[in-house]
């Protein structure tokens, strides 16, 4: 399959997104903000729908709306005056419905909705894939440069604050990087795969190892393997690529969980 340029392009773009989202996903799972990630993805898709409707840069709309959401999620009062999950539930459903309604009467209404949800990896252009690879490498580089800061501020923001760290600003920086990643990824790979990359590889890492460094490495490697296998299987058996990558990720997680359960000492 590698003889086809469009497949090589899809592999490059999707691997870049998958590997970096898997890295970010470790924080998303550890900070227990999985539903924040899902809601961010849904808001981002509403932005893309707005771009399709207006005919003006879906990426800009997506990043803009996601950035507003980021400001809201990173605000210290988020989740304090009103239950966090209720707020997220409202935003998730309303932005999801908005995305469908906004593109419903466009020329390719239903098709656009399917693309928003499932993505269309194989339609990625080479320029798009290179740009995505560069953007996601940038996000990863910032995270790696400030690894100890992001880890400390995620694990114990109060203690970090006593040592002079501005916890609020670091939290905002974390959400901005996550939001930009989500917004850029959605248009290329769809909500479903984006969300899968945030949750499944990190869970796999946590199932397989007890070292944080190992969790990051396993998550990133699993995302890369799933992209390659998923696209390969979808090409071989003529299935849509994004759901196939998710199926591979789910399968890997299932195998890992079973292996872990078998290794666990029996009690009683």
């Amino acid at each position: 399959m590698l003889q086809y340029g469009f497949i090589r392009t899809a592999l490059l773009g999707t691997t870049a997104i998958g590997v970096v989202c898997a890295y970010l996903g470790v924080y998303v799972v550890l900070r227990r903000i999985v539903f924040v990630g899902a809601t961010m993805a849904q808001i981002s898709s509403a932005g893309i729908a707005l771009g399709i409707l207006t005919g003006w840069s879906p990426n800009a709309w997506s990043v803009g709306l996601t950035f507003l959401a980021v400001l809201f999620f990173a605000h210290p009062s988020f989740g304090k005056r009103w239950p966090q999950d209720a707020t997220l539930g409202v935003l998730f459903t309303v932005s999801g419905a908005a995305a469908v309604l906004l593109v419903a009467h466009t020329a390719r209404g239903n098709e656009e909705v399917v693309h928003l949800v499932q993505g269309n990896l194989l339609a990625m252009t080479a320029a798009e894939a290179r740009w995505l690879a560069l953007a996601f490498a940038g996000i990863l580089a910032v995270h790696l440069a400030f690894f100890k800061e992001f880890l400390y501020l995620s694990f114990d923001p109060t203690m970090a604050a006593t040592q002079g760290y501005r916890a609020g600003r670091w939290n905002l920086a974390f959400y901005v990087l996550l939001g930009v990643g989500v917004a850029l990824a959605i248009k290329a790979i769809g909500i479903l795969l984006m969300f899968a990359f945030l949750v499944i590889p990190a869970s796999l890492g946590l199932v397989l190892t007890r070292r944080l460094g190992g969790v990051f490495l396993i998550a990133m490697a699993a995302a890369a393997v799933a992209v390659y296998l998923g696209i390969g299987l979808s090409y071989r058996y003529d299935f849509p690529s994004a759901p196939m990558i998710i199926a591979v990720l789910g399968g890997l997680l299932g195998i890992a969980a079973a292996w872990r359960a078998l290794r666990r000492p029996r009690t009683g």
Binding site: L30, R32, F146, F155, L206
Partner: protein, 257 residues
């Protein structure tokens, strides 16, 4: 009511009002902590003990009044904060050494990785708390007492000379509680650390600390243990009849039937 002469305090609360989002938690609080003090802050859940600690640590700005750090000692003042251990999520797959090592991140500076001097400080902190054997264990696998020791080691690894502990014995059994209180007292006595220790168990703290700040529903009293631990004071603060007895050399506060 500060009981510390001007000029000798490390940190001084002057008519301080504290709260969140416009809702007051503590009003008109005045007390001071001197160098070498061992202070217990005692009160029921929700009385504002942790809020006082946050103001002391400079991460919560008072709504009224001022928290003043003596200018000449402020440069040398290094807080080592020990949070309530249940506020830390055990899902993080981190070893004790990694968690203690976090204390050195601020010193290493942005982007830079901690160096050999930081590794040495971590090793010394683990040794001081006698948990070298736990260094590679995962934090989530430890008992409550062991986790608390790891967090105290992390506070020490900051190079702290002022230890601030938030409910370190909450939810512990008698033996672990005694162990942690004994450890903190040893650090105060042998290492010369100034200590502020929060608890909601008056009997637990009263026999370890030198001075007490007792708070309840906005009322408070601060002073040496002998002075605060009287039936009159406690009755006024808690608004219930109170008897203070001495059992085996220790003071015990009892609410009679």
């Amino acid at each position: 009511m500060t009981a510390v002469p001007a000029g000798s305090a490390l940190v001084r609360f002057e008519d301080v009002g504290l709260g969140y989002g416009g809702l007051p938690v503590i009003e008109k609080l005045s007390f001071a902590v001197a160098k070498g003090d061992f202070v217990g802050i005692v009160g029921p859940n929700g009385a504002g003990k942790s809020t006082i600690l946050k103001a002391m640590l400079g991460i919560l700005r008072p709504a009224r009044g001022a928290v003043v750090y003596e200018a000449e000692v402020h440069r040398e003042l290094r807080f080592g904060y020990v949070p309530q251990r249940h506020t830390l999520d055990h899902i993080y797959p981190l070893s004790v050494r990694a968690i203690v090592g976090m204390a050195r991140y601020a010193r290493a500076g942005l982007v830079r990785r901690p160096g050999p001097a930081d590794d040495l400080a971590v090793a010394r902190a683990l040794e001081a708390i006698d948990i070298v054997d736990l260094a590679e264990r995962r934090f989530a696998e430890l008992s409550g007492g062991q986790r608390q020791r790891a967090l105290i080691a992390r506070a020490l690894a900051t190079g702290a000379n002022f230890l601030v502990l938030d409910e370190p014995t909450d939810g512990m059994d008698l033996k672990s509680t005694h162990g942690i209180l004994g450890l903190v007292r040893r650090l105060h006595r042998d290492e010369g650390l100034t200590v502020v220790f929060v608890s909601h168990q008056l009997n637990e703290v009263a026999n370890y600390v030198d001075r007490l700040l007792v708070i309840d529903e906005g009322r408070y009293h601060f002073g040496p243990v002998d002075e605060v631990l009287t039936a009159d004071h406690l009755r006024r603060i808690y608004q219930v009849p109170v008897v203070v007895e001495t059992v085996a050399g220790a003071s015990v506060v009892v609410v009679p039937r």
